[in-house]
């Protein structure tokens, strides 16, 4: 049995997939624990939590102290002493007194610690972490090494985001673990990850909604090449599917590149709860009037035009002409965006899909499908996703050092490229299985990057340096197919 939970802006969607698919919604006001009480303790649980995390990241600025250990090279703000070289050697120590002085005068709500080349040796970051944790809770301190990839500026940015949401993720984990010991989070690529990995790199969970929608739409329709239109309360997301999989992009936050990879989605800032004040506004004040809210919304406009959503009698505060105009405005906006993709079919998901998709498909002149359980396709997607991993491995045979996603791993001396690659694949498979993936899901390990060169000293090959990026790509678990 697979259970998926998607914590949205208004409701938490739940999907339980066994021989049948069951979906239902629980208002967020009752908390995640209330949603968890309704589900069986059997089978696998996957939680998509992007909405609460998005709210933090797009909310008011938080006071995050970014401590960087740049060493030689370009200049970065927040720099302290210390340096790790490109070979992963500590070439300059940190100065504990400098860090203590920094923290004594700090009023930071969270701390981000990023060292250049920390993904090759995280000892300086760990040393700084240990000093900083005397001043602030470890749940509010993020380090950059577990992100795994080179690119110091992007790692700094991602670590700052991690620091900002780590406490929330830690709280969520504690809350869920009170009910369920084992569970997974859905990542921004639509794959699943263990809570242990998520707390190391919380940004993995950012913006997971489009990914769950993509997986859910594919699972419910098996349509491999289409455009998914997810009409939510706050936004309408357009997610293209190619060969049954979404496309991926690097996430840019506040004009800075991050090391977060997320499903490509175009977000239109209007959804069912977008309020109406003379015109349709690109923000949400609360629920639609038909669901107990105070201000009229797009959902209420639909009711005025003849739909029957919620308590439709409360919607009739909008002038019928204005309601009609607003619905037409919304339909035209989405249809023109759809036309740019030139899709062969569109799949509607989200609670308003049943009411709006036929008009969108007519305007865009494209086949429209609204599958059963479309209203909770996100939760269905979470339920059926498989565990995914992206692992960055750096091996230096001279230093007898192997780092796996920034963490030193037991060194195994392998000089042959083929043997090393085979070892790395096995390592990824074992890692995935240890985190709870079924063996069938880890058969295919994808190698994204492999580079290897010999270290020559005195005209002799003295060592080999290898970088491998490989992993298990996101998708639907074999067990659900």
């Amino acid at each position: 049995m697979f259970t998926g939970i998607d914590i949205g802006g208004t409701n938490t969607d739940i999907a339980i997939i066994d021989s049948l698919i069951q979906t239902y919604k629980v208002p967020n006001s009752k908390g995640v624990s209330a949603a968890l009480k309704n589900i069986s303790s059997n089978g696998r649980l996957a939680v998509s939590s992007s909405q609460p995390l998005n709210e933090i990241l797009t909310g008011p600025p938080a006071m995050i102290k970014s401590i960087t250990i740049p060493g030689p090279g370009l200049v970065y703000p927040g720099a302290i002493q210390g340096a790790v070289s490109h070979r992963g050697d500590v070439v300059e120590p940190v100065n504990p007194e400098e860090i203590k002085t920094l923290m004594k005068s700090s009023h930071a709500q969270a701390v981000a610690i990023s060292g250049k080349f920390s993904v090759r040796n995280d000892s300086l970051e760990q040393q700084v972490f240990s000093i900083v944790s005397d001043y602030i809770s470890p749940d509010k301190i993020a380090v950059s090494a577990p992100i795994g990839a080179l690119n110091f500026p992007a790692r700094i940015k991602t670590t700052i985001l991690n620091a900002r949401i780590k406490n929330k993720v830690a709280g969520l984990i504690k809350e869920i673990k009170q009910t369920r010991k084992d569970f997974f989070f859905v990542t921004s690529t639509g794959g699943l990850t263990s809570p242990e990995r998520a707390i190391q790199n919380p940004s993995l969970l950012y913006h997971s909604s489009p990914a769950t929608v993509a997986n859910g739409a594919y699972y419910l329709t098996r349509n491999k090449n289409c455009l998914v239109i997810d009409i939510g309360g706050t936004t309408t997301e357009l997610v293209p599917l190619v060969n049954g999989k979404p496309l991926f992009n690097t996430v840019i936050v506040e004009n800075s590149k991050t090391l977060i990879n997320a499903v490509e989605a175009r977000s239109i800032p209007y959804g069912g709860d977008s309020c109406i004040r003379e015109n349709l506004c690109s923000f949400r004040v609360g629920n639609s009037r038909s669901f107990g809210g105070g201000e009229p919304t797009l959902t209420d406009a639909l009711n005025v035009c003849g739909a029957r959503i919620g308590d439709e009698s409360r919607s009739h505060v909008i002038d019928p002409d204005l309601a009609h105009e607003i619905v037409q405005y919304y339909l035209e906006m989405v249809s023109s965006a759809v036309r740019e993709y030139r899709p062969s079919a569109i799949i509607g998901t989200g609670y308003l899909a049943h009411y709006l998709l036929s008009d969108i498909s007519e305007r865009a002149q494209v086949l429209g499908i609204v599958p059963e359980h479309a209203g909770s396709a996100n939760a269905v997607g979470a339920a059926v996703s498989r565990l995914c991993l992206e692992v960055h491995i750096h091996v230096d045979t001279e230093k007898k050092r192997m780092t796996v996603n920034g963490k030193e791993s037991p060194y195994v001396h392998i000089m042959d490229n083929e043997d090393l690659l085979a070892y790395a694949k096995e390592l990824v498979q074992n890692l995935a299985i240890s985190e709870g993936a079924p063996e069938e899901d880890v058969k295919d390990v994808t190698v994204f990057h492999f580079s290897s060169y010999d270290v020559i000293r005195g005209w002799k090959v003295t060592a080999k340096i290898t970088d491998i990026i490989l992993g298990i790509t996101p998708g639907i678990t074999v067990e659900a197919l």
Binding site: P70, G73, L74, N151, A154, Y453, W459
Partner: protein
């Protein structure tokens, strides 16, 4: 200010032999450093992919016989000298290196970038019209200079700061007043040429300037040469483009040479050249990688320093890790600077009839 970086992974492929000093590992740590610094995400940087040079481009510099020799020998491999083996398929790598320099020139002339750094291998400045030597096969800078001239640039200044004298480039432009060749190099040293007496012939007399410096020459020496000779030369010659044969083997940690320039010294040198280029030729400056064999301690920091300076980034953090300080102290010779003062004085005597900035001081 956008700096173009011409690079492709194919530039890692060339190897004379697996353990040769001019090997793949030379650029590997530099690339790690650039990737970790997020260089290729910066708005000040544009990555440019090289395309191979055409035969016509090469024949503007090298003889048809020599090019044919390289092409034919590349089929099965061969040898030019003990330092310069021709591995199989060399010609593809050599043409791609020269082509990268041409791409850089085009990007600058087309105003896609303000300046450019060609991170190419194999290097080129020891290659003459009909000969290869010192790890070099085709003279990338010379081929680029002729291409620039074909596109309307009349005068080009080449500053060759590789630790070894750029004898190939000197030979190619020795009688040519449209190319001002200025080489700063360790002397006496390989390839043995590069004396101050060699100032060009015919119309090219006075346009070949050698600045031989002793082992142990530090940042101070380079700074002095820049202010006393190189910048005044550029300001008087008023080139349309400045080309830099950027050898990074003057670094104090280089295992093959004896000079003592630091990463910060390199960055400042390039920063000054960019300022000169700004003032006289719309910032048009193209650097082409030559030597540099301190693969770990030098190249990652010097290459980053050059790129940072060219892109107008803050270079105050460009330095080697502190663990190299002891080696730096050992490498610097206090005797070098007085010798350089004497060399410059002698050089000025030889060039006073050719350059007003020297003549007026007499």
């Amino acid at each position: 200010m956008i700096c173009g970086i011409v690079y492709d992974n194919a530039y890692l492929m060339h190897e004379q032999s697996h353990t040769h000093p001019e090997r793949r590992e030379r650029l590997s740590y530099t690339l790690d450093q650039l990737e970790e610094e997020g260089i290729f995400d910066l708005p000040e940087i544009k990555l440019i992919s090289p395309v191979p040079a055409k035969r016509d481009d090469v024949l503007l510099v090298h003889s048809a016989e020599y090019l044919r020799f390289l092409e034919e020998t590349s089929v099965h491999g061969g040898i030019i000298d003990a330092d310069t083996i021709i591995p199989k398929d060399l010609i593809h790598d050599a043409l791609l290196a020269a082509g990268g320099a041409i791409q850089a020139a085009d990007a600058v002339l087309n105003q896609e970038v303000k300046n450019a750094f060609v991170l190419a291998r194999p290097p080129g400045h020891h290659a003459g019209k009909a000969s290869g030597a010192g790890f070099c096969y085709l003279n990338n800078v010379a081929i680029m200079v002729r291409h620039l001239q074909r596109r309307g640039m009349r005068r080009i200044m080449i500053l060759d700061w590789d630790a070894h004298h750029g004898n190939g480039t000197e030979e190619i432009f020795y009688d040519d007043p449209t190319v001002l060749f200025c080489s700063v190099h360790q002397y006496p040293f390989y390839p043995g040429s590069g004396r101050i007496d060699d100032i060009g012939v015919g119309d090219g007399k006075g346009y070949n300037i050698n600045l031989p410096i002793p082992a142990g020459s530090s940042d101070k020496v380079y700074r002095y040469l820049l202010e006393e000779i190189i910048i005044p030369l550029a300001e008087e010659y008023m080139p349309d483009v400045i080309a830099v044969s950027a050898g990074q083997d003057n670094h104090f940690s280089d295992p093959l040479t004896g000079l003592a320039l630091t990463a910060q010294g390199y960055a400042r040198l390039m920063q000054e050249m960019c300022i000169v280029a700004d003032s006289i030729c719309y910032g048009r400056l193209i650097a082409v990688l030559e030597g540099g064999y301190s693969v770990e301690g030098g190249l990652p920091y010097t290459n980053l320093g050059l790129i940072a300076a060219m892109a107008g980034l803050d270079i105050s953090g460009i330095r080697e890790p502190a663990i190299y300080q002891e080696l730096l102290q050992k490498s610097v010779s206090e005797e070098a600077f007085p010798k350089v003062l004497k060399m410059v004085s002698n050089l000025k005597k030889k060039l006073s009839n050719h350059w007003y900035f020297i003549h007026r001081s007499y």
